[in-house]
């Protein structure tokens, strides 16, 4: 009977172990059947190690008992005569993630921060913007009389207090900042204040800009200095009428008419905020289409839902060659030139301009010249293991760069994942992060999210590598929960290989898309095939059924001839049998 369990229900076993084995000690003590279940868990771990990106997680569990005995603490002594096992330059989300994991791995860790803990994301990016977007989402709902009426609601004259909205964003940022700081302090990470400079191999100085007076040595160094808003030349920032996301998040004003230069995530999110608060928006996009980074189909629908119906117009295929802040009683002037011919197109007169043309790496003053590293457009060149490469293309030992500074994938959670990947390597477990399984989200209303390849990218890859690509789509209009919320706008799209059932990409536009994407991104990270995931059960009625429908609509070719799989019910029966045996003994 017992052996029957281990052999017959491997997949289900791993699922259960995944939940239960996070901290073994805890699991064992909590569960009455813990001892018997160990057999299952062993099976799960054995299987887990077969998965490429899952390996570290499994390994971490093995190490867990040591750390879990007490709360993990920063390693007391660094090995090899260094001050630290690891020094991280930059305490943003990437550095923070790396520091936490390093301590868990028993590394003596220090983090150097020249500004505020939390970096861009927490202080000037994702976090405060979510506060503003939370406000804008509600304002939008309250102003949508038609929508409310159709649900039988009556609201009279919703309004807002700009300062209070701004405070909400600011308070959120401080709260998350202190959470982050405390989480590092609690485990004893040394937070060193100042700007870090690499002065030689495994050697870092830090202190005030230009006066790095303190020197420390470290076995390994991670550069995680992030990025700053990119401002093209010709644009004069005054912080009042012409500004970047850094200023905009403070919401010091809500202009009547604002031009947003750049229609990527940042621009799009701000357009959502500003239009909800009553502004009119004009997009200026250098490429021929708005939202260039998105899957074309998603971009098309996004334009329909997020642009066309709102107080937004746009100019595409143009550069803002010159932007003059408002002064002397004149509005903000934006000179537009054709992106191709460079000819003057027109001059916009607006109340404010938000520059959202992307972000530039913040890598100046890092002392890279001391170790023969040359940045590329400011980005620090790294290999797939985040190891910094020097001017000759050789790996610089013991030096890593994660996050926006390497430009691989400029997302907070990507930086954190890269940091964890680096720690895995330092701890002796080779690890390569699969960037294709990192999801991204744009928090407009409704949200947009994506993971993996866009359809054109997938088709290109398929052409090159000679496999077939299939696409299935489903509409939020077909989802009960979405309709209950009266939010039927949206689609989800799955791009996959019918021959193997591998998920190549998932794109969602719709209610809570940012939360929905993880089922897909996790499946991709774990290598779950569509044949398997389409059998998974989703609670009804939930938005997650949008993905369920997507998975079920997919037609992987070799679904049927897989070796017969026992239904999970068998495992449940076995478990209930074990439980009954145990309880009868008691």
């Amino acid at each position: 009977m017992h052996s029957g369990v281990a052999v017959s229900a491997p997949a289900s076993a791993s699922a259960i172990a995944g939940g239960g084995a996070r901290s073994e000690a805890a699991a064992a003590s909590r569960r009455p059947g813990g001892i018997r279940l160990c057999g299952l868990r062993g099976e799960a771990l054995a299987r887990g190690s077969l998965r490429i990106s899952h390996a570290p997680a499994a390994a971490r569990r093995v190490a867990a008992p040591r750390a879990a005995a007490a709360a993990p603490q920063n390693g007391a002594v660094a090995g090899g005569g260094f001050d630290y096992d690891l020094v991280i330059i930059g305490a943003g989300v990437g550095g923070h993630g790396a520091a936490l994991h390093a301590v868990e791995e028993g590394l003596k860790t220090a983090i150097i921060e020249g500004d505020v803990v939390g970096g861009t994301c927490v202080n000037r990016g994702c976090v405060p913007s979510k506060a503003l977007l939370a406000v804008s989402g509600r304002m939008r709902e309250l102003h949508d009389e038609h929508h409310l009426k159709s649900m039988g609601l009556q609201v009279s004259s919703p309004g807002y207090d700009r300062q209070a909205v701004a405070d909400h964003a600011n308070n959120l940022a401080s709260k998350i900042r202190s959470n982050l700081t405390n989480s590092m302090k609690a485990i004893g990470v040394d937070i060193l204040t100042g700007f870090g400079t690499i002065v030689g191999k495994q050697k870092v100085r830090y202190g005030k800009v230009g006066f790095p007076d303190k020197e420390i040595t470290a076995k390994n160094i991670i550069i995680a200095t992030g990025s700053v808003p990119f401002v093209p030349k010709g644009i004069e920032i005054d912080g009042k009428t012409v500004f970047t996301s850094d200023h905009a998040l403070k919401l010091e004003s809500v202009p009547d008419w604002i031009a947003i230069v750049g229609s990527g995530y940042i621009g799009l999110e701000f357009s959502d905020v500003y239009t909800a608060l009553g502004s009119e928006v004009t997009f200026v996009e250098a490429l021929d289409q708005l939202m260039p980074g998105f899957d074309p189909e998603i971009a098309k629908l996004a334009q329909r839902v997020l642009i066309n119906t709102r107080k937004i117009d746009y100019h595409t295929g143009v550069f803002a060659s010159k932007i003059t802040p408002a002064k002397d009683g004149k509005p903000v002037l934006i000179e537009l030139i054709d992106a191709k011919t460079k000819e003057h197109r027109e001059t916009l007169e607006v109340d404010a301009a938000l520059i959202a043309t992307g972000r530039a790496p913040f890598t100046n003053g890092l002392g890279l010249e001391n170790i023969n590293v040359v940045t590329q457009r400011g980005f620090i060149p790294v290999d797939e293991r985040m190891q910094v490469t020097d001017a000759d293309g050789n790996v610089v030992p013991n030096l890593f760069c994660i996050g926006d500074a390497n430009g691989k994938l400029m997302l907070a959670h990507a930086a954190s994942a890269q940091g964890i990947s680096v720690i895995e390597q330092i701890s002796g477990r080779d690890h390569i992060l699969n960037h294709l399984s990192i999801p991204a989200a744009c928090f407009t209303h409704p949200e947009i999210s994506m993971v993996g390849l866009t359809e054109p990218q997938a088709r290109e890859k398929a052409d090159k590598e000679g496999f077939e690509v299939s696409v299935v789509k489903t509409s939020f209009k077909a989802n009960t929960k979405a309709l209950a919320e009266n939010e039927g706008d949206g689609i989800a799209k799955l791009i996959y290989r019918p021959d193997t059932g591998e998920i190549l990409g998932v794109h969602i536009l719709g209610l809570h898309a940012a939360d929905l994407i993880h089922e897909a991104s996790n499946a991709m990270a774990l290598g779950t095939r569509l044949q398997d995931i389409k059998l998974a059960v989703h609670a009804h009625p939930t938005l997650s059924e949008v993905l369920d429908e997507l998975f079920k609509a997919a037609k992987p070719k070799e679904g049927q001839e897989r070796k017969p799989k026992h239904p999970p019910q068998l495992l449940l029966k076995v478990l209930s049998f074990i439980t009954s045996v145990l309880s009868s003994k008691q």
Binding site: D256, R304, D313, S475
Partner: protein
């Protein structure tokens, strides 16, 4: 909402059936504009597609292409809602989206034109003019159609705006929403004076120009000034009657709105009426004879009117700009038909040329289509003269309102046995009907109408010629 074009009235009247078949239709500006300069306009309509076999009507979710956009074959121009998902609809032709006839959020029956596509820049102005004719005059399902491109009011704007009908912000700077509203309400931004900051045109300016009452901004303050508010509102809305307690308010359907609009518009035309008694015994005899062959009284009257019109082209003419006669090349008799929730005017084209049997056949088809609301635009808006008959209800006489873009309309009462005295003083009982014609006095004078009616009466009283 702006002049929301009625579902059935979406097409420019100048467009012929060929266009609907999506064949390239190039035609000189239109028959009556034939001038020394031949404008070869290539304007195509974009139609509401049938996305499923059961679809009869589609809702426009949004326009992917805006007015003024250049599109190429295969581009998605509009998103149409079907039962489960929204579908992108592509254009089959290259061109410039000259006019959106059905704005986003509204519905149109399958096959109805939803936008005009101009082949080149030069055609845009014409298409815009057509579209304007549509949205203003023409909602013709109801009152008879004009062959008109542009009934009096809209015609000046297209002329003036022709160079840049939709170009925004050439003079004043307009905000994004102002531009959107201007497009939606067909407001020429060049004519709007901006009152916003830096003299910029605000959405409120456009709404004012379009004659839209500003959204009741008054509503929120009611809390603060509950007493003042009503009195403030009362002034601008003087023409709106106070609500009747307990009454049910049913907004106009698109068709009803179009009727209303056309009726109000007729007030700007100096119309006059001339009545004429006609003996119909012979006509009734003829009717009994041809009835088995499927000929209806309506067709006989239409045919008679057409024959009379052939002799008096001025009655078949129209006055479009207040400064000229527009003589129509063919005689198309529009006949008012009551249908569920409104009325529509199917058109018997070339009624003077076709015989009564052919006309009857055509009429049958038209009525069938009208009841099914499947009339194609040119089948209800190409009339040059309208016939309205209430005789079947026993109405002995009535007076019709002149539809915009036409010179005259004939109101026919019931034919009733009446005691008459002939020229020798002998009394007899004969069937007599009263006919009343309303005409535009700018082009049709009393004598014209009298002569026309006399001819018409002769034809009716000696109806043999009708069967020829």
């Amino acid at each position: 909402m702006a002049a929301t074009p009625a579902p059935l009235s979406l097409s420019a009247s100048a467009l012929s059936a060929r266009l609907r078949l999506a064949a390239p239709a190039s035609r000189a500006a239109s028959a009556r504009r034939r001038g020394p300069m031949v404008v070869r306009a290539k304007i195509r309509e974009i139609f509401m597609p049938a996305l499923s076999s059961t679809m009869t009507e589609g809702k426009i979710v949004s326009w992917s292409a805006a007015e003024g956009d250049r599109v190429t074959k295969g581009d998605a121009v509009v998103v149409v809602e079907s039962d489960k998902a929204d579908m992108d609809v592509e254009t089959f032709y290259d061109g410039i989206v000259a006019a959106v006839l059905v704005p986003a959020g509204e519905s149109a029956p399958v096959g109805a034109p939803i936008a005009l596509l101009a082949e080149s820049e030069e055609d845009v102005a014409l298409a815009v003019a057509q579209a304007q004719a549509l949205s203003s005059g023409q909602a013709q399902q109801a009152p008879p159609p004009s062959d008109a491109d542009a009934p009096p009011p809209p015609s000046p704007p297209p002329a003036a705006a022709a160079p840049a009908p939709v170009a925004a912000g050439t003079k004043g700077v307009a905000t994004p929403q102002a531009k959107k509203l201007a497009k939606q309400h067909r407001v020429d931004l060049a004519k709007v004076t901006g009152t916003g900051q830096f003299g910029r045109i605000t959405p409120a300016d456009v709404e004012a120009a379009a004659g839209i009452q500003p959204k009741p901004k008054v509503a929120p303050p009611t809390a603060a000034a509950p007493v003042a508010a009503p009195s403030v509102r009362a002034v601008p809305q003087a023409s709106v009657l106070p609500p009747v307690p307990g009454a049910t308010v049913v907004p106009f359907t698109a068709m009803q709105a179009a009727v209303s609009k056309n009726m109000v518009e007729s007030l700007s035309v100096p119309a006059f009426r001339v009545g004429y008694p006609i003996l119909t015994d012979k006509l009734d005899e003829l009717y009994e004879k041809v009835k088995p062959k499927g000929v209806t009284m309506t067709v006989l009257l239409a045919k008679a009117a057409a024959m009379a019109l052939a002799q008096y082209p001025v009655v078949n003419a129209s006055c479009r700009d207040g400064a000229s006669f527009t003589y129509n090349s063919s005689i198309n008799i529009a006949v008012a038909v009551a249908i569920d929730g409104g009325l529509i005017t199917p058109v018997l084209e070339q009624a003077d040329k076709l015989d009564i049997y052919l006309l009857s056949q055509k009429w049958k088809e038209l009525v069938k289509k009208a009841r099914a609301k499947q009339l194609q635009p040119n089948e209800y808006n190409s009339g040059t003269f309208t016939l309205s008959n209430l005789g079947m209800f026993g109405v002995d006489r009535f007076d019709a309102i002149l539809p915009p873009g036409q010179g005259a309309i004939m109101a026919v009462g019931a034919s009733k046995p009446t005691v008459t005295a002939d020229k020798d003083g002998f009394f007899s009982v004969k069937n007599k009907m009263l006919v009343n014609v309303t005409a535009d006095h700018r082009i049709v004078y009393g004598a014209d109408l009298a002569a026309f009616l006399q001819t018409f009466a002769k034809i009716i009283e000696d109806p043999e010629s009708l069967t020829l």
